[in-house]
């Protein structure tokens, strides 16, 4: 415990001397590990790097250690070993300097049911000693407006629907201009229209230059809004990088629909298509290195009648299953 904290101090000072590094990586963890008192290893040697300006998707099955990681990044949980730096400063030591610039939604919203939505935000804002009380009411009103809750601001939070609570939680994260937003399942409990609105809001925030760290179990959500992603399973980081690269990692498949499957399979093998499988009138295989137009021409030249010729793009879901070897909502 002592040794890493000494190192942390050194690297913390180095980061202050080198703002370039701090600007490049909004979150950087090294060997971040959390072992709970029961001996359970929740997070195991995590090396996570979140580039500035990215919309970073944080994926993993339930129980894979995502929430523990987020709590360590926010200074709520002390790491067993390893270091975590947020905005270039070590956590949890620099919470007072870092957290006013970070908006967070952690494991769903938590509200005072007996207070109105507006009073909830006033209270959270008052908790931040760097928040100017003179602009408090105006900032709260702006945040409520931004998440579409202006009309329900005076209602007791107890009477809010789950979606409204989620919006209020988001509003709390938007009380100040932030450099980083940490959003844990931000569209949970929202209807499809609400999800679209929140995703649009995330894109808008990201285009303003805010880095967004987004954990979600909805893969299409990550694909739609994220530029980068990391995948965790059983406390370990399996992969991280740009979303396009991750999806490309799991290669797509060439699919030919034809009334002559036998002949098509033979031609495809000749053309260097690997792992050719025939299923009724569908022949699929791993696409070859050469131009697919040539493959199609070869099929036609061999007299194969082609009804459909497509390259099925690998989704992030394929990549995810390939990486974690399990379905998505399975506890790890």
């Amino acid at each position: 415990m002592d040794e890493p904290s000494a190192r942390e101090r050194d690297s913390g000072d180095a980061a202050e001397r080198d703002p370039q590094d701090a600007r490049a990586h909004v979150i950087a963890t090294r060997g971040l590990t959390k072992r709970y008192r029961g001996g359970q290893l929740a997070v195991d040697g995590l090396d996570l790097t979140v580039p500035a300006g990215s919309v970073f998707g944080f994926l993993g099955p339930n129980g894979s250690g995502k929430t523990t990681t987020i709590r360590m990044l926010m200074g709520l949980i002390e790491p067993t070993s390893g270091t975590a730096r947020v905005l270039g400063r070590p956590m949890p030591r620099a919470t007072r300097a870092v957290l006013p610039q970070v908006g967070a939604l952690i494991e769903g919203p938590a509200l005072y049911g007996f207070l109105s939505g507006r009073d909830n935000l006033l209270r959270y804002d008052a908790a931040d000693p760097t928040a100017d009380p003179r602009t408090r009411r105006a900032r709260v009103a702006a945040a409520l407006d931004r998440v579409g809750l202006a009309a329900a601001a005076g209602k007791k939070a107890r009477a809010y629907s789950l979606g409204m609570k989620q919006r209020l939680g988001l509003a709390a994260a938007l009380l100040q201009p932030r450099r980083l937003l940490v959003l844990d399942e931000p569209t949970n409990g929202l209807d499809p229209q609400g999800m679209r609105e929140i995703r649009a809001l995330i894109r808008e925030l990201a285009s303003d230059g805010t880095t967004v760290f987004l954990s979600s179990h909805l893969l299409d959500e990550i694909e739609q809004v994220c530029t980068h992603a990391a995948v965790m399973t059983q406390g370990r980081l399996v992969t991280q990088g740009a979303v396009a690269d991750l999806a490309a990692g799991a290669r797509g498949r060439l699919a030919v629909t034809t009334p002559d499957p036998g002949e098509a399979a033979r031609v495809l093998k000749e053309q260097g298509v690997g792992d050719v499988t025939v299923d009724g009138d569908r022949v699929t295989g791993e696409p070859p290195a050469q131009d697919l137009a040539e493959v199609n021409a070869a099929l036609v030249a061999a007299g194969v009648r082609v009804r459909g010729f497509t390259l099925e793009q690998a989704s992030l879901e394929d990549a995810f299953v390939a990486l974690t070897g399990e379905g998505f909502d399975v506890a790890g």
Binding site: M74, E107, G108, G113
Partner: protein
């Protein structure tokens, strides 16, 4: 204002040290807006009303109230002569249980209640700061001690003035003091009673840092209060009793002596300070190192 400008203003702006008290103000207001706090204060305000009416009914025939005395201060017999004694009686009646129970509920809920509802994590990432939040909570609980005691005292004064005559009063020592001085002593007693609750408040706050359930923390604190009260009654534990936070509670009656007998009053205040120091430090040590997983 564009975002870049906003960030610039933010960087150029110097937060005032006074802004840190925004949380205390929010905490005080939030505590007083809880239905539970208001219910506790209503119960406390009702006690003097019940005592006053009971004494009035019992003495309607013109006789003075019962033999009075027992172990507690013999104030009740004096109420019919002077309504101000209802203040002393009501404080003596609520100090052993109602007042510390109310304080135990508010103190026990302080951290654990926020943890249970999940609002604690949002306060901490705001960032409230753990030491700042704990100090704010303790200050609020102490403010509640004063408020709760004043509610009892003021309610008793109003009921006493309505049902009984007011005027010069006779001290326990038998001397007579003016009504104004009596009123001054009543205020002093209220403050001493409030200070007597500081120990329970610190204990409750410490218990509150141990659990994520507000109900469990409240029940534990009130349970400890009852246990200590019982221990204080067992003669065999004579050696232990001077260290129980409730042992010198009723010493406030010495303020109605002439001259005031200070020994037990000072012991009481010293003991409360000791409890505040010990359990306050324990709460701080626990809360600043705790993993917040709720």
């Amino acid at each position: 204002m564009s975002r870049a400008e906003a960030l610039q203003t933010r960087a150029g702006r110097r937060p005032s040290p006074l802004w840190t008290f925004g949380l205390l103000r929010s905490e005080l207001v939030t505590t007083l807006r809880r239905w539970r706090t208001l219910a506790l204060l209503a119960v406390l305000a009702a006690v003097p009303v019940l005592v006053g009416i009971a004494v009035k009914l019992e003495t309607r025939g013109g006789s003075t109230a019962g033999p009075g005395g027992g172990d507690g201060p013999a104030f009740i017999a004096q109420i019919t002569n002077n309504g101000l004694f209802l203040v002393f009686t009501a404080l003596a009646a609520t100090l052993p249980f109602f007042l510390p129970m109310a304080v135990g509920v508010v103190a026990g809920d302080a951290i654990a209640g926020e943890a249970g509802s999940g609002t604690l994590r949002y306060l901490l990432v705001a960032p409230a700061g753990r030491t700042r939040l704990l100090l704010t909570k303790y200050t609020t609980v102490m403010a509640f001690c004063v408020l709760a005691t004043l509610v009892v005292a003021v309610s008793a004064l109003i009921v006493g003035a309505l049902l009984f005559p007011l005027g010069e009063l006779t001290t326990i020592s038998g001397t007579r003091i003016s009504f104004a001085e009596g009123l001054g002593r009543a205020l002093l007693i209220a403050l001493v009673v409030a200070a007597s609750l500081v120990g329970v408040a610190a204990l409750g706050l410490f218990v509150s840092t141990l659990t994520n359930s507000g109900i469990a923390a409240m029940a534990t604190t009130v349970g400890l209060l009852i246990t200590v009260q019982i221990l204080d009654q067992i003669p065999q534990l004579h050696a232990l009793q001077p260290y129980l936070f409730s042992h010198y509670w009723l010493s406030f009656a010495d303020l109605v002596r002439d001259p005031v007998y200070w020994d037990d009053l000072v012991k009481n205040l010293g003991l409360q300070a000791l409890y505040a120091a010990v359990f306050g430090s324990a709460a701080w040590a626990r809360f600043t190192t705790k993993d917040i997983s709720a």
